[in-house]
């Protein structure tokens, strides 16, 4: 039922003037955010803690915490308005259509169950696979995320893997039910630089191979610049900059964006390796 509807839709996620309120104390946490994620596109959201980026993603996934609620605006996933989604509709959509990975992979996995079983569980619940089929598919997924020894990882526990490997396992679990949209919220922030690069490579590869639409959220403009076509910069709950990556980097409209760019130019690799100067007022 759901698949038929989305086959024609070219817009994966459409957010229009989304506003989110906190109830205790009463403040507006997200003030009118709008963006469009086309099918197969990559959108980057740059912002620091308090910018509202995580709340926006939570709203798109329907996982806003208790003291927080959407006060106005629309969120459409493949053309379907999620404002009045009930429990069952969210269950149908999560995993199958839209999925997410977050910052601390270890905390999203059960420390006392072997990793293979945890991915199996996703497959059996979401796709109704038998135990045998699930195991095969899990092994395929583990090698698709470039884990060197999928058979070994299948039997391992959380504490036996490094941060980078765990993040790959979480990505495998997230794409297991075959979603069309993947949100990566600070997914590489806690990882070493070389591992981060590998995970970003992986996300790009998955996008190309499986046709995923990606949302990459980070506080680091450079991370977003690496793999996203479009960039959204958020600050204090509002969008202060929005455009294609080249536009935003070459003609930033907002001071905050300019600050981020100049930081990289002054205190980053950009300072010494590139002849291409970015326009910073």
């Amino acid at each position: 039922m759901v698949d038929l509807a989305i086959a024609e839709e070219q817009i994966a996620v459409q957010v229009s003037d989304l506003r989110i309120r906190g109830t205790v104390p009463d403040t507006e946490l997200v003030r009118g955010v709008s963006f469009t994620l086309p099918r197969g596109g990559t959108l980057g959201i740059v912002g620091e803690s308090g910018s509202g980026k995580t709340l926006t993603c939570a709203a798109v996934l329907g996982i806003l915490p208790k003291q927080v609620e959407r006060s106005s605006g629309t969120v459409e996933i493949f053309g379907r308005d999620t404002a009045n989604f009930g429990k069952q509709e969210w269950v149908d959509v999560r995993g199958n259509i839209i999925s997410a990975v977050f910052q601390d992979p270890g905390s999203y996995l059960n420390p006392s169950i072997r990793l293979g079983r945890q991915i199996n569980e996703v497959l059996r619940v979401k796709k109704g696979l038998s135990r045998k089929q699930a195991k095969q598919e899990t092994l395929r997924l583990l090698s698709a995320v470039h884990l060197r020894d999928p058979e070994l990882v299948y039997d391992q526990y959380v504490h036996e893997l490094s941060g980078g490997m765990l993040q790959r396992v979480v990505i495998a679990a997230a794409i297991a039910p075959g979603p069309k949209i993947l949100i990566a919220d600070e997914a590489t922030t806690a990882l070493d630089v070389t591992v981060q690069a590998e995970v970003l490579d992986l996300l790009t590869e998955l996008k190309e191979r499986e046709g995923l639409s990606l949302v990459v959220v980070s506080h680091d403009l450079a991370v977003v610049a690496q793999i996203c076509d479009e960039v959204l910069v958020m600050r204090s709950g509002a969008v202060v900059e929005h455009g294609s990556t080249t536009e935003v980097l070459h003609s930033p409209q907002d001071d905050y964006t300019r600050l981020l760019i100049s930081e990289h130019e002054r205190y980053g690799l950009d300072r010494i390796i590139d002849s291409e100067r970015l326009a910073v007022a």
Partner: protein, 302 residues
């Protein structure tokens, strides 16, 4: 910490209540208008000019008995507290600094004590030490010591492993300096809370034991004993049994309110509360509600 604790309403009430109780404990017997153990008037008289709280079933002045009994009741509770503190807090603190063997042994001893059923232990102690208030209080003190062990140990451990202590060491601080400047402020609140709640427990225990007639021979006045003796006459002279009840309640309430006050002014919530008060006094408008609810800074939903 004490200065801060009396700034909050619960602390002020606690200070008043505890002040009265300790005053009674120290000066009570001296202030009694009549000898506590002698019959001085008719039995079970109501309150009058001569006897403010009336007389009990033998004709003794209730007020005098209550005052006379204060010392024993409060002292007994204090004894519990002191024993629990010494037996618990000192090994607790040392278990962090004296090495693995001592740590292991002390932890296992405490685990065993916690596993023992309270009453069984009390009875066994009585069999061992004899039947008396002092012995019972001693046993109760030992039984309540694990709390102090845990509190002292966990405070010492968290401070010992903290970065600010490491920073002080990197500037050449001695252990004594770290104790004075960093450890004391951290351990004082939880220990004070443990002291006051244990005091409350001690008061109730000694009242219960004297109520049951254990350890103190009549006609010695104790709060529990007075209650026991006069309870059956409650319909005729309600003040006789109720007066000790009120005093015990007041004492226990004072202890618990003090613990609440300390809790309110300590830790993150405490610091916010105090800074909110200071800001209010200075005339600035702050989000008092935020401080009072105890919302942590940095708990933004970004």
């Amino acid at each position: 910490m004490l200065r801060n604790a009396v700034r909050v309403p619960s602390g002020r009430i606690a200070a008043v209540l505890l002040g009265i109780i300790f005053f009674l404990a120290v000066f009570g017997p001296l202030l009694a208008p009549y000898p506590a153990n002698n019959t001085v008037a008719a039995q079970l008289e109501g309150p009058s000019g001569a006897h403010l709280l009336g007389t009990d079933y033998v004709g003794r002045d209730v007020l005098s008995r209550m005052l006379a009994g204060s010392t024993l009741s409060v002292l007994g509770a204090l004894m519990v507290v002191v024993i629990a503190f010494v037996v618990g807090a000192i090994p607790g603190l040392l278990s962090v600094y004296l090495g693995r063997v001592f740590e292991w042994v002390s932890l296992r001893v405490v685990d065993t004590m916690i596993a023992l059923p309270f009453l069984v232990f009390a009875v066994a102690m009585t069999a061992l030490l004899g039947n008396g208030v002092v012995q019972s209080m001693f046993a109760v003190g030992i039984l309540l010591s694990p709390v102090f062990f845990r509190v002292a140990r966990s405070s010492a451990l968290s401070v010992a492993q903290s970065q600010y202590v490491e920073a002080a060491s990197l500037s050449g601080a001695s252990t004594a300096w770290v104790m004075r400047k960093h450890f004391l402020a951290k351990v004082l609140p939880p220990i004070s809370i443990a002291l006051s709640t244990t005091m409350a427990t001690g008061l109730v225990v000694i009242a219960s034991l004297t109520f049951l007639g254990i350890g103190v021979q009549p006609p010695t006045a104790t709060w529990g004993g007075i209650l026991a003796a006069d309870l059956q006459y409650i319909a005729i002279q309600p003040l006789a049994p109720l007066v000790p009840v009120v005093v015990i309640l007041a004492a226990v309430l004072g202890c618990n309110l003090f613990a609440d006050a300390v809790r309110d002014v300590s830790g993150e919530a405490g610091r916010q509360l105090l800074s909110a008060r200071a800001a209010r006094k200075a005339g600035q408008v702050t989000l008092i509600s935020r401080a009072l609810i105890g919302l942590r800074k940095g708990g933004e939903l970004g």
